[in-house]
């Protein structure tokens, strides 16, 4: 489907209207609710856009697991679930290089989630 304006555009426009015209005239209690709504719309708008960076992170995760020879072992669950299980069961080598590769991957995964849920925090760090 190629509806225009698309879902992302509609959400961004609706959020801006809420912030520009409704939030300033609401009392404190309702302003809090409206800001939560604006936040939720913002997250949803960024999520449906699915930027290339998310795909890159998914590739990085698959490559990390493949590097450990674990890509086939966990075929029935998601790559992220496989990573969580391997960490829990301490199946990742503990030499300096592997530790650094793991924390780099985890930071990358977290940053890619923050790009959707709270990009302001990323910009501040």
């Amino acid at each position: 489907m190629s509806n225009q304006p698309d879902a992302h555009n509609l959400l961004v426009t609706a959020r801006q209207l809420l912030l520009d015209e409704l939030v300033p005239v609401l009392d404190e209690q309702h302003r809090y609710a409206a800001l939560m709504i604006a936040n939720a719309i913002g997250i949803a708008a960024r999520e449906i856009r699915s930027p290339e960076a998310e795909k890159d992170m998914s590739k990085a995760l698959d490559a990390f697991l493949a590097g450990l020879g674990a890509d086939g072992e966990y075929s029935s669950i998601s790559a992220e679930a496989a990573l969580a299980q391997m960490i829990r069961h301490r199946k990742i080598p503990t030499d300096g290089q592997s530790c650094e590769a793991l924390t780099d991957l985890l930071l990358g995964l977290t940053r890619s989630k923050l790009r959707i849920s709270n990009p302001k925090l990323l910009n501040a760090n």
Partner: protein
């Protein structure tokens, strides 16, 4: 409507029942309820404010009390009202500025649940408002005072017979928490590799355990009342437990509870040297800043687990709430803070072998 144990009643009947009980406890000749309202609170308990005027008896004159009763959805980890009443009493006796607990009713036929009455503290507990309103001098004095309050609470030890209902952890508090949070993650559908990594980190870096003391376990900005810069009451005692005293210090200082004022490490209000000085002034023990840092990571993991559980409550349909939904989406923020703090700590000292 409040309901439970076959009793169902509206707000007016509820106020009358509570007033009758207070009249009996105080031996008042006459009692007139001037105001009764439900206060905002969690799913764990219902809080009401009751204002009344009494003649003669033990409490003649005008009073405002808070009534806490169990709510329909009890959480496993939280205390019953009867247990909370006993904890509050011990905390007050230890010199902690907590609302004085006055009367307990365990007879569920009165209002349908156990309830207790305590004094009402003045001021606000709203973290954002508090941080904006405090002068620098007030903030420093409050931070020192928070240290003193925790120091007084931590003088209560597991040999206190009146708190024998609180379970004593069989392993060091840090190891018990790590096991608890792993079990909690197992009950959440989505994988969380960062939290798994953080739990391993906590296991590998656990400092020597301190002797168990009575911990509040939710001692943070937002859970204490302040009026004109002065602490008036430490609230919300339902998670109190025997634990490592550093758990409370870490929870208070964790980055998650600074209400936007990140530079002020003690709950967005003040600086650690003032908190530690206040604590040491009571306990006589110096505070180990590195150990506080370790328990800050534990605190952020705990808050992440709670946030995931709150998000799940919304997703499951148990309680549809945008606030719960958005709390669930806050987890990457906490995970980022956890990773940053752990990696900074790694750089600051050599990993134990």
């Amino acid at each position: 409507m409040i309901s439970g144990a076959g009793v169902s009643m509206d707000m007016q009947s509820l106020s009358w029942k509570i007033a009758d009980a207070i009249k009996e406890w105080t031996g008042a000749c006459t009692l007139n309820v001037t105001d009764f309202r439900k206060l905002s609170g969690g799913a764990i308990q219902n809080n009401y404010s009751i204002s009344l005027e009494m003649t003669s008896g033990t409490h003649p004159g005008a009073h405002r009390f808070v009534v806490r009763s169990d709510a329909p959805s009890q959480i496993d980890a939280s205390l019953s009202r009867e247990q909370e009443f006993a904890v509050l009493r011990c905390a007050c006796e230890a010199g902690v500025t907590a609302p004085e607990p006055l009367w307990l009713c365990t007879d569920t036929s009165v209002i349908g649940h156990a309830f207790y009455v305590m004094r009402c503290a003045s001021g606000t507990a709203n973290g954002r408002q508090l941080i904006k309103a405090l002068t620098r001098e007030q903030a420093r004095a409050l931070t020192y005072r928070l240290g003193q309050e925790l120091g007084r609470l931590h003088r209560v030890s597991p040999d206190n017979a009146r708190l024998d209902f609180l379970p004593v952890p069989s392993s060091p508090a840090a190891q018990a928490r790590i096991a608890e949070y792993r079990q909690a993650l197992d009950r959440i559908a989505q994988p969380h590799p960062v939290l798994e990594w953080a739990l391993n980190w906590l296991q590998d870096h656990a400092p020597a355990a301190s002797p168990l003391v009575l911990c509040h376990c939710d001692f943070r900005t937002g859970n204490y009342m302040v009026s004109q810069g002065e602490l008036t009451a430490v609230l919300d005692w339902e998670f109190a437990a025997w634990s490592d005293p550093y758990e409370d210090l870490g929870w208070l200082c964790a980055k998650s509870w600074r209400f936007g004022n990140v530079a002020r490490e003690v709950g967005g209000v003040g600086d650690k040297p003032d908190l530690f000085a206040g604590y040491t002034s009571v306990t006589g023990e110096p505070v180990d800043a590195q150990k506080v840092g370790y328990w800050e990571v534990m605190a952020m993991v705990r808050w992440s687990v709670i946030a995931l559980q709150q998000g799940q409550r919304h997703v499951s349909g148990q309680e549809i709430s945008l606030e719960l939904a958005l709390t669930g989406r806050m987890v990457p923020q906490m995970e980022f803070d956890i990773l940053s703090q752990c990696l900074n700590t790694e750089n600051a000292y050599v990993k134990p072998t």
